[in-house]
Each structure stands twice: as structure tokens, then as C-alpha cells.
């Protein structure tokens, strides 16, 4: 599992990583602990989704791996080299949440600028810009100034720049933000292609359905700590049943409260069942009481369901802790 630390040489390896944000102007009590004792290992060719609520520490973790931040304690290696070192940088491609560019530069000039920083010669640059800009749907935009690009186009250019060096480790922070459906498909295809070439990819996103189409391996971060998502979506947790109620939704909620209700919103109730026999008893229980079912379907638990369940548990734990 990617969340467990592995001793073999990994594309990304974090050991007991802790990051505390301090500043000269804050007291010790005001210091923010963004990550606490995080250990993880990602292998070459693996695609890993990084999920967690806002402010959980996802971007901090990505910035630490990219060498933009230094850990308060713990070690990070990229391809066996210390994160932030020149050797690690040669293996790494990084796309920040909101890529920024020189407004007066054209798309092609900006791409060439970053290519030159990666020590790519003029011929290589021309070939690469043709290939990558085409692949990301930026070909017709190459002479457009970066200042006039839409948010989605900026994301595409940011992605192209992250891939300039044909990295062995690619870190994408919310890459699908503002991308149109075509862009999302292109991103997905690109990620699959890179993964098949052996690139390890770490993607953070709040678009969980999109993320689920790219990978089935997830790392969850809640309150700066790793949550084992693998355990949460394992089959022993049961199957989900989505029931759409036709009438008397509030009553239906009450009637179903004896089962494990995952979520109830709108006219939909999601339950967790342990066996198929439960379905028959749920249906008969509801219909006997005059509640009609519009639709019913069995589903594996989606990553969104897992996300919401973990969030509920975390909130509950927090409340219990504060009550004490």
C-alpha cells in the first residue's frame, strides 16, 4: 500500500515528516502544525490521489516533496535524493495550484523559457514545445500572451511546464481546476501515458469522481495526519445501497435509522449493508409503512462516500475530544 512505508528505493519516500509553520512574530502556541509524523512511499509508475479537506496539509506535503518547504523533522527523498537537492529537482515536475506566468510572454516563449532552465537545447525545445503544447491543446494558443489566457488555459500551460523535463516524479496540485471536459480527458490520458512510462504521479484534487477515474490508490490527510484510505474502502466495510425516496422522505429517514445510514440528503438515502438479504428487508420495511421507493441501486463505496465518512468520524472525534 502506498501509505505504508517501504524500505525499497521509492520514487517518493517520506519518513516521519513533521512540518510546523513558525514565524518570528508568533508565540509557540500560535505555531501551526501542518503535518505530523507522516510516512509514505510511492513507487515508480504509481498514480496516487491525495485527498483531504481544506487546510488538512495536502499542499504542504506536496511543497515539501517539491523542496519548496523544509521539514521541521523527518526525511523526504525523491528518487533516492533529498528533496530540494539539484539531483531531486532533475527528476521532478511540479504544477502548483494556480500557475503564474510573465504576463507579457507568449505561451511558446514561456514554455521555451522553462525548457531552457531545464538545460534543453534549442532543437529539443522546438520539438518538445510542438509535442507537449499539441498534446495539451495549446497549439493554437502558442502566440497568445500569457496575460490573456483563461484560468483553464493557464492550468494547461502549468501542466506543460511541469512536464518539460519528462519527470520521473510528477506532483500535480489541483490540476483539474477550471479545466473544461476536454481538458480533463486530456489530463487523464496524459497521466496514464506518463504512468505507463514509469513516472510516479501524486495528484491532489477535490474532484473526487475525476480522481477516481484516474486512480484507485489514495492517501488521505486529515488534520495533518495520514488516514488509511485503503482500509476504509476495503470490502469488509460492506456494500452501499442508494435509495431514492418518492414520498415522505423524513419518515423514510426515521424508518431507516436502524440501518447504518451513510448519508441522507435531498431525496436520497445511502445505507451500508452487510448482505444482500438486507435489501429485501429494507424494501419491505419501507413499503409496509407507506414509503415508496423511486429507485434503488447497489454500489461499491465511492471515494466521495469514504471521504464524507472519514470527515464525519474526524468531526465526531474532535467534538468528543473537546467535550472532554
Amino acid at each position: 500500500m502506498c501509505t505504508n512505508h517501504d524500505d525499497q528505493t521509492a520514487a517518493i519516500d517520506c519518513k516521519q515528516l513533521t512540518k510546523v509553520y513558525k514565524s518570528l512574530w508568533t508565540t509557540q502556541s500560535q505555531h501551526v502544525c501542518a503535518l505530523r509524523d507522516v510516512s509514505l512511499s510511492i513507487e515508480a509508475g504509481q498514480i496516487v490521489g491525495l485527498i483531504g479537506p481544506n487546510g488538512a496539509g495536502k499542499t504542504t506535503l506536496m511543497n515539501l516533496i517539491a523542496g519548496l518547504l523544509r521539514p521541521t523533522s523527518g526525511d523526504i527523498t525523491v528518487g533516492g535524493f533529498t528533496a530540494g537537492s539539484m539531483k531531486a529537482k532533475r527528476l521532478l515536475g511540479y504544477m502548483p495550484e494556480s500557475p503564474a506566468f510573465l504576463e507579457g510572454y507568449t505561451v511558446e516563449a514561456m514554455f521555451n523559457y522553462y525548457s531552457s532552465l531545464c538545460h534543453i537545447g534549442k532543437d529539443g525545445r522546438a520539438k518538445q514545445s510542438q509535442e507537449l503544447l499539441d498534446r495539451l491543446g495549446l497549439h493554437s494558443m502558442r502566440s497568445r500572451q500569457c496575460g490573456s489566457l483563461s484560468h483553464g488555459m493557464r492550468q494547461r500551460l502549468g501542466l506543460a511546464i511541469a512536464m518539460v523535463m519528462q519527470p520521473k516524479v510528477l506532483i500535480l496540485d489541483e490540476p483539474s481546476n477550471a479545466l473544461d471536459p476536454i481538458g480533463i480527458v486530456q489530463l487523464r490520458e496524459l497521466v496514464f501515458a506518463l504512468s505507463s512510462e514509469g513516472t510516479a504521479i501524486l495528484i491532489s484534487s477535490h474532484r473526487l469522481y475525476e480522481l477516481e477515474k484516474i486512480t484507485s490508490t489514495f492517501i488521505g490527510i486529515w488534520n495533518g495526519q495520514i488516514v488509511d484510505i485503503g482500509k476504509n474502502i476495503s470490502p469488509e466495510n460492506g456494500q452501499l445501497v442508494r435509495i431514492e425516496i418518492k414520498n415522505e422522505f423524513e419518515r423514510a429517514k426515521q424508518l431507516l435509522s436502524t440501518w447504518d445510514v451513510v448519508r441522507a440528503s435531498g431525496t436520497e438515502v445511502i445505507l451500508k449493508i452487510s448482505s444482500q438479504q438486507d435489501i429485501a428487508s429494507i424494501v419491505s420495511h419501507l413499503t409496509k409503512k407507506g414509503v415508496y421507493i423511486k429507485s434503488l441501486c447497489c454500489d461499491d463505496e465511492s471515494i466521495e462516500d469514504v471521504f464524507l465518512r472519514i470527515s464525519q468520524n474526524e468531526n465526531r472525534e474532535k467534538e468528543q475530544f473537546s467535550d472532554r
Binding site: A66, L68, L69, Y94, S98, A100, L102, G104, L117, A162
Partner: protein
């Protein structure tokens, strides 16, 4: 890579190419206006010290304007996040950016001094013998201002490096005046001397290089002034590189 970074220092902001053109056009216009006034009132004792003029505007102000937000803009906009993950050391990036701006200063000074020299040769008005020493002094002072302002830009966001230098220069000048006045009144000559030495050696050595431009110093004095200017520029650059290498980059969220 070197060419791209040097090019970037000129094209990163739309106002920089315009600044180059504006300076040359302004010098030409001022020269022609001044020459016109001289023709209208030939008896006046009015004269222009073009070397000093170029030293102040092109040697001191121009490099500071060139460095506006050179790193501050990158850090503030989040551009630094991608720059810092590229396989190029931040010290090398700093050096190449300063080199790029210094080349611009060199070209700018060469163009402006040539313009004034040609105009003086053509009109025979306000001719000045020591334009060469002013050129050298301007080049050296521009290097120190460039490195000082670039270093300030590593920890001051946006274009605040320019604001701090402008305000700082005025404040230091006024402080020196006050110290000198107080020293004269209360006989604190030691204080006055210390303050003058700090101003002379610690900050860009304007006084030393002014004397070099005016040819008020000996050849040895001139060499010392040049070495001092290069040394202090080197000191500013090292401070800037150390700061950059110890920085953590996080994009501020709205």
C-alpha cells in the same frame, strides 16, 4: 539558459523596454531644449553638467527601476513555486538576473553617453571633458544599486524594493544632514565622522564614485573606489543569494 534569463530581465515587464526608449528620448529632448535656450539667451552663464546628470539619473535611478519586483513579483505571484523546482540553483538565477540587468545598464549608459557626446560634438554646447570618468562611475554605481535592490527584492514583496530604496535614500540623506548639523552645534565630530563613513562605505558609494566622475581623486583613489564599489556589490549579492537559498516558498491564498 543564460540568454533566456538575460532576455527575461528585459521583457518581464512591459514598462522596461519603454523605460529604455523614454530615457533616451528624454535626454535628447532636454539637451535640445537646453541648447535652444542657450541659443535664445547666448549671454547667460547657464551651463549643464551632463556627466553628473547621467550619473544621477542613469547610474542611480535607472538600475533601481530595472529591478522593480525582480524577485518580489515572482514570490508574490506564485511564479517562484515553479521556478524554484527547476533544476537551476537560485544563486545562479540571482547571478544571471543581475548580469542581465547589468548588461541593460551597460547598453543604456553607452547609448546615453554616446548621444550626449555626439550632441556636444555637433552643437559645441556644454562640452565636458570627463565624460569617460563619469561613464565609469555611472557603471559602477549602477552595479551596486542593482545588487542592493535585487537583494531587497528577495524579501520585500512586489515592487516594494524600489519604494524602500527611494524612501530609504531620502531618510538616510536627511539623517546625515541632521547628524552633521547636530555635530556642528554640539561639537560631536566623532559622530559626524562615523555617520559620514557609513554613508561613504556602507551604502552604495555615491560620494566616492561622484569624486571619481568629477576626477577629484587620484588614479589610486579611483582604483580604490572601483574596487570598493565592486566589493560592496558582491557583498549585497552574497546576502541576496543566502536569503534566497534559505527561503521557503508558499503561495499566499486569497
Amino acid at each position: 539558459m543564460i540568454g533566456e534569463i538575460i532576455k527575461e530581465t528585459c521583457l518581464r515587464k512591459r514598462f522596461i523596454p519603454r523605460l529604455h526608449v523614454t530615457y533616451v528620448v528624454t535626454y535628447l529632448a532636454i539637451y535640445l531644449v537646453s541648447y535652444g535656450m542657450h541659443l535664445l539667451t547666448p549671454d547667460s552663464s547657464y551651463s549643464t553638467q551632463w556627466g553628473l546628470w547621467l550619473f544621477a539619473w542613469s547610474g542611480c535611478l535607472f538600475p533601481v527601476l530595472l529591478t522593480a519586483g525582480i524577485f518580489g513579483n515572482d514570490i508574490d505571484s506564485g511564479r517562484m513555486l515553479q521556478l524554484a523546482t527547476m533544476p537551476v540553483s537560485l544563486g545562479w538565477l540571482y547571478t544571471l538576473r543581475v548580469l542581465g540587468m547589468f548588461i541593460q545598464c551597460l547598453v543604456h549608459l553607452a547609448v546615453c553617453f554616446s548621444l550626449i557626446f555626439v550632441m556636444q560634438s555637433l552643437t559645441g554646447y556644454a562640452t565636458e571633458k570627463n565624460l569617460g570618468s563619469w561613464f565609469l562611475a555611472s557603471l559602477l554605481i549602477s552595479l551596486t544599486w542593482l545588487t542592493l535592490s535585487t537583494t531587497l527584492s528577495t524579501f520585500l514583496m512586489r515592487e516594494y524594493n524600489v519604494v524602500v530604496i527611494m524612501i530609504g535614500s531620502i531618510v538616510i540623506f536627511m539623517l546625515l544632514m541632521m547628524i552633521n548639523t547636530a555635530a556642528a552645534l554640539a561639537d560631536w565630530s566623532a559622530l559626524s565622522e562615523t555617520a559620514t563613513k557609513i554613508a561613504k562605505y556602507g551604502i552604495p558609494p555615491v560620494i566616492m564614485l561622484f569624486n571619481l566622475g568629477m576626477q577629484k581623486c587620484s588614479i589610486t583613489g579611483g582604483i580604490v573606489a572601483a574596487i570598493h564599489a565592486i566589493g560592496i556589490a558582491l557583498f549585497y549579492a552574497i546576502v541576496g543569494i543566502v536569503i534566497l537559498n534559505h527561503m521557503e516558498f508558499v503561495h499566499k491564498r486569497e
